[in-house]
Symmetry: D2
Amino acid sequence: MIPRYSRPEMVAVWSPETRFRIWFEIEAHAGDAMAELGVIPKENAAAVWKARDATFDVDRIAEIEAVTKHDVIAFLTHLGEIVGEDAARFVHQGMTSSDVLDTCLNVQLTRAADILIADMDALLAALKRRAFEHKETVRIGRSHGIHAEPTTMGLTFARFYAEMDRGRRRLVAAREEIATGAISGAVGTFANVDPRVEEHVCARMGLAPEPISTQVIPRDRHAAFFAALGVVASSVENLATEVRHMQRTEVLEGEEFFSAGQKGSSAMPHKRNPVLSENLTGLARLVRSAVIPAMENVALWHERDISHSSVERVTAPDATVTLDFALARLTQVVDKLVIYPERMQANMDRLGGLAMSQRVLLALTQAGVTRDAAYRMVQRNAMKVWEEGRDFQTELLADDDVVAALGKEAIAAQFDLGYHLKHVDTIFARVFGETGD
Amino acid sequence: MIPRYSRPEMVAVWSPETRFRIWFEIEAHAGDAMAELGVIPKENAAAVWKARDATFDVDRIAEIEAVTKHDVIAFLTHLGEIVGEDAARFVHQGMTSSDVLDTCLNVQLTRAADILIADMDALLAALKRRAFEHKETVRIGRSHGIHAEPTTMGLTFARFYAEMDRGRRRLVAAREEIATGAISGAVGTFANVDPRVEEHVCARMGLAPEPISTQVIPRDRHAAFFAALGVVASSVENLATEVRHMQRTEVLEGEEFFSAGQKGSSAMPHKRNPVLSENLTGLARLVRSAVIPAMENVALWHERDISHSSVERVTAPDATVTLDFALARLTQVVDKLVIYPERMQANMDRLGGLAMSQRVLLALTQAGVTRDAAYRMVQRNAMKVWEEGRDFQTELLADDDVVAALGKEAIAAQFDLGYHLKHVDTIFARVFGETGD
Amino acid sequence: MIPRYSRPEMVAVWSPETRFRIWFEIEAHAGDAMAELGVIPKENAAAVWKARDATFDVDRIAEIEAVTKHDVIAFLTHLGEIVGEDAARFVHQGMTSSDVLDTCLNVQLTRAADILIADMDALLAALKRRAFEHKETVRIGRSHGIHAEPTTMGLTFARFYAEMDRGRRRLVAAREEIATGAISGAVGTFANVDPRVEEHVCARMGLAPEPISTQVIPRDRHAAFFAALGVVASSVENLATEVRHMQRTEVLEGEEFFSAGQKGSSAMPHKRNPVLSENLTGLARLVRSAVIPAMENVALWHERDISHSSVERVTAPDATVTLDFALARLTQVVDKLVIYPERMQANMDRLGGLAMSQRVLLALTQAGVTRDAAYRMVQRNAMKVWEEGRDFQTELLADDDVVAALGKEAIAAQFDLGYHLKHVDTIFARVFGETGD
Amino acid sequence: MIPRYSRPEMVAVWSPETRFRIWFEIEAHAGDAMAELGVIPKENAAAVWKARDATFDVDRIAEIEAVTKHDVIAFLTHLGEIVGEDAARFVHQGMTSSDVLDTCLNVQLTRAADILIADMDALLAALKRRAFEHKETVRIGRSHGIHAEPTTMGLTFARFYAEMDRGRRRLVAAREEIATGAISGAVGTFANVDPRVEEHVCARMGLAPEPISTQVIPRDRHAAFFAALGVVASSVENLATEVRHMQRTEVLEGEEFFSAGQKGSSAMPHKRNPVLSENLTGLARLVRSAVIPAMENVALWHERDISHSSVERVTAPDATVTLDFALARLTQVVDKLVIYPERMQANMDRLGGLAMSQRVLLALTQAGVTRDAAYRMVQRNAMKVWEEGRDFQTELLADDDVVAALGKEAIAAQFDLGYHLKHVDTIFARVFGETGD
């Protein structure tokens, strides 16, 4: 997480202030539940809420931690300084540090997931808008980087919409994976803390109680969470790669928005580089790099070891902050992407109609030519177009075998673009539930 | 995928015979749909089903492919040899190779997922049985490898049950991710093939139609699939690691079943090594290694490039075969794991009652001692037990401050094991929906 | 490792026959050393060599292993069947299975490294040949996919030569990392086997004795080995990506060789796809996937656990076989790559001379214009070329400020291509130690 | 990189101040070389050095970058503010941003490598000291977590010394990989900048000129660099795992140093947890997570794309800062590790002499018993010891077959510990070049 690739809302989720605030809430709610159960005095539980509007002093807590070498104890000590030692006497009663730490982490991850889901909604909205805008903007489809058959720019946006919509569902599932809390004591047996305390705290913090925990919440949940982020990041890379291809000089079917004051290169003033998309490609690698460590964190020893902690201290903020930034940047790229329909047409024309070869092949087969013979007839004409830059339709019309099989009119009919667009509405209806018409 | 770590049912999913069989079914069903739509003659579509019970000649297909360098064309040529060139004339009409390849891959992955889910059911059954069997078998809980407070072996099994149950849900979700097919032509526009063909084929093959595809089914689905496998594999490692710890000489609270003829070591005949669990640890690393390549496969160029193919040819069989083997092996380990309750008791006794320190701390606090003072009182006695091997209860009874605060009877009461087990039923009810009582 | 991506020589390194042959040699050489030291009778040591030309029966060994569940014991039993129980009596004396297994693995990895280094030599030769062939073939250099300044195809080949030459050095270093053997007994203390046995066996097998081993050779060596393979694979992807870009329809500056019988697509007969390079991109992902598991294998418990074994059984053959195949395929791609110099020129011309903008900028600065003013002068003309397809030189000649600063002649002089090629020889001399002139 | 896991010296390498300082030096040295070549006026080159002792204003540069969206241009503008626009006029002449950025990155990585190598030297010194201190401290060797044969704590330290010494060599090689600089212009052709400028700058900055670059220094170098860090991190995990095993309650052969004020747990005051070693395990995962992204960075498009940049902005500081912290922490752990020789003896005694079983097996074989018979004789006695807690030597002496084969005296002789230590000096001489005697 570096400022360059961070947005304030997500950064705030991971600030020490937020963390201490959540710790406080967990402890205070736990106190309420214990008081309700008669385990601690109600007045003590109530007194802790005096810190409700307090600002926890991050530096002071760090100072105490430098001595105790234990962050939760340092926080509790500081809380005692705020509400008074007497009021604080029963705070954390029967609880273990991880009850606070793990529940807090999941509150933070849940909030992070909410932001990411909202990011995704914005991206989906942009993709949908652009899809309908360019629903009929014809463009050559490419496999292996080679021209294949016509498609539309709207279908390109639509498929990324569908992919990101799956990504949204994965984020929702990921959120559910980690929306649990645990107040179950040193080894998860509730020996010193009643399960009803856990239920109360979780309800207040917007979490479900973890059905069975050890000292910690099981890390397969977090592995699933980060894996989902990795998949979404890979989809970000997918869309970014499409933009990078569109913008390359020889293709130039689209361009990232280029603001007036921006300088593309210190040396070549004419350059407009797809730097946002390239940046997104790198950010995707960063988000993905959190996946394997999260999986390595699953096999903790017995009722817990603390090896996961340093990993999560870094990757939990880093992966969520980076993905938040990436989704927002991608939304901006999609939203403002400059599309060049004339260039799309010019690129498609460059191959002299070869994009129709498959269709001619089919027409020949349906006219009774064997597949193999039809293939050879198409191929020999296609090769001339490919190698000598001729026009496919013209060549076919000059090929006696083809004319004999199809007739000149039928040959010309194969070059109608509408043929390729006839199911665009069907696909849009599948993806968006509407065709826009 | 090597025979050593393979089971026949999963291997069969990935055999060339299975693949060609699925290809055939896709082509034949597609023919039916096209005939129904009047695109090809019904008699041709029907004639293709002559190959319904044929055996596709893997070697012959390989021979043809050596010339054409294209596997689907090689298969179609061979299919023509079986059903006759005339019958085969309309096979694959308007389709592209990927329509067949990608739909087939997802059929295979879906079948693989079904096997993995069944594997998981067997593992869950074993874990549940062992959990109830050892529900009250007391054992010291450990954090950081250090004795903490008592728990039970049943809770250990129960938490792995809960984790694997989450794994099962992830496998079900993963299955859903890849249970789609696509017959949408060269760039996904259905230019040469009607969307109803896709619908028919998918329905027959047990898949949903992919809402929007390019030449291929989008690879974010496969990334999510392999990520789920990676998470499950990490849970396998988690359980295996617990067994390895249990079996180490100094702990020996459990042991993998050791058959009569088995030799543990060529050099040390007394050795019984947790080799299955160690092997599972390695297998988990292998399954996880498929995750990142699957994510790298997402960003295919434009309407597809074929870089994903070589990756999937290897990882799709390897990851599913290995995880299938691992889950089956783990089930066997759990099922036959030899548990030593006396040793569990002996290990717990080794620390002279220190496991009760937290409880004593709480009792002191509740008796009115400040948290800090209570902490110091417990710590000074605990340190003597720890360093000089004394008995915690005895030391506490000899500590005037502690006796003054609690009284001798209350001190003794803190050493009752039942205190730690009182919520086992609550947890079992959460995990299994029943307590077994 | 699947046959599709395998070559026989490397596959043979990993065959059971090779493995048993190496095991035999290790045992027989160890016997010689022990006999020399007087530990076992010389006649027994000599008698074992009766199996020198024997064929070890893989099925028979598997049969025995099915009972003993231990591969080395199974092998030794079979060896006894060949040379007679009496002769075999002292075989493996004081040794532990890992002495044989680990030393054998490193012999295999060393042989694999030798093949990879030879592969690399072939690739380097091809790259060098093509570099000199196209040393002066001008081509536009691109950053961010956008035209920058001219370079040559020879420089492109030369930079991949330099990168692969570093890859070769990494392979040599990787070979050195794992070219050690260990015959040090159950925990590496040489309690039951003299260090001189290890020295003798290692010398005969072409290895150095591992200075200090446990039961196994330390796995940081193997991690370094696989990491080197991962870096080389990434360089393979780098070169493959360049080819894929060159071949895309709009660029078409180069093409993979396309044999006569080959069919590019079942649907689009005109297509020539860079499928080899795309395949190499996927293979690179596969080789890289062995890196993290190898690193996870380093932290074995105490004097060894066997978790690394299943990983290596799969990744050692897979990663080396795949990289061998990839290097050979890449050599073929480079060797036969069809280069289109006219197209390179045409692509470069497409931007109307904008590639010279940096040079004009410099000329203006040197003529006394401030950097900022020069930048604006270049940019305003460049933008017209970019947006309206005009010619850069023409625009500059019509810009009074530019003409005032430089004069018409000097403007024209900036468009000389030789300016960009003047240091090609310098670079070739740095890379190849020669300029070819 | 978070403060918790950072040390100031390494953090300083990555500060903006350091970066701008290095950028300045590169520009100023380049100016000198250009002036020497007559390309720019000597007085301008000299004037730039006015900023030699200047403090570059990080905030001011950020302010300018907010407008230009280009960091190098922002810096150059600020430099102009310091030395005067006239003096700055020829700065960066013919250079491209990457000339500065990439050369700077490699200066930083080189300095980082120097710190890591020094860290490693401190770790090696600590390991060596502890190895000689405990050269003869007997301890049971374990394979699979199960007691095997005796070894010494000194050998444990010695093997980690040897592993880290290899790590040091890998760091030195990694440093060499990235100790290159490039001042070669927009596409690496030196069109606008003389190669002698590159030579001069590299010499001054302690780098070698990159033999052939594009706009950037090739990223296979950086991939190799981060891979080396990943291997070293895995060795850190290896050592940390050993400590964690040693400290677990049932083993307790060693303990991390525990300072007086430190609290192990908020709930269990007796606990001393190996939290440093667990932390190191997590840090190792973090460092490793930089490896795959670095490899994914290798395949940049054509003469460069900028996808690597965001990755490196994060991982270059993060991986080096984290590994620096980890090595220093590990040195502290090793240096102060509390060793309990009595506990080592007690643990070994726990198995009643079974550690000698291999030796007895050998003695029987050498006394003429067949291997298979000897194996059975040892195994039947070993099983009684294992299962009933008897003493191995006693059992053997009561086994008529064993006594008949060996005689009572020879049986007793097999239980001499010196037998296992006889080659410790040999091994120490191999590892350290000295035995300490």
